[in-house]
Symmetry: C2
Subunit: 130 residues, 2 copies
Amino acid sequence: MCAKNSQETTQPSEELLCPIRYLLNIFSGKWKLPIVCMLSGETPLRYSTIKRRLGDITNVMLAQSLKELEAAGIVHREQYNEVPPRVEYRLTEKGKSILPTLGQLAEWAIGAMQNETTCGVLCTKCQSTT
Amino acid sequence: MCAKNSQETTQPSEELLCPIRYLLNIFSGKWKLPIVCMLSGETPLRYSTIKRRLGDITNVMLAQSLKELEAAGIVHREQYNEVPPRVEYRLTEKGKSILPTLGQLAEWAIGAMQNETTCGVLCTKCQSTT
DNA sequence: CTGTATCCTTGAGGATACTG
DNA sequence: CAGTATCCTCAAGGATACAG
């Protein structure tokens, strides 16, 4: 049922939760979806790369969003103990599994926008190796 | 491109906007998606019916959400000049056109939740004629 | 019944500085 | 380079009362 979202933040997994609301919980906020879209390419991306391509996200929001996506099992974090430190992010299998549907959403949006943009499905420009 | 969302609220249609961000603009907020999901049935729903089924939404949020969805061309508002007043809401063709994708999203979510709920795809319980 | 008007609280998100 | 720590702003959202 769509109604009656869980109030408690402790154990929402026990609650009867609408799938749509479950989705909203995972991908809530301003940056989660753009980040997933940006990681949809084959090659893992570094923290700084993601930050640069998103353009106007702060460290706080990026680190927090990545952490939450990781906790949700959408994103994998790989840390290399080098100097300077290097951390790469990529989608997990679970994360990748939503890409086709995300692509459909993007196609719908493009159709709804009714005018051409320079942005392809799933933000292919975001995956460009700049 | 995913980056550089438009700052101006006046004419965002001119901006190069990522489809995903376009989507986020349309369905932003806590209630838009649950409302669309609730209107996915065949029969139009009255204001009070939507309010009752969502359970914990206020008049302000419901009226505002419906108005924005109407402005986005997702929802159609039909007003009958009766006493007491009666207003029915239903999805437009554009609104209906996103249902299949929404259904896929819901299926993904159900798979991701990994445990059974009483909620079917697209919140079928929300459509029950209570 | 279908909303508006008003006021208020909360937290998402941003700015800046700093650290391992 | 990859984040934390802190503080702050602003708008989304809620509560309550009232109107057509």
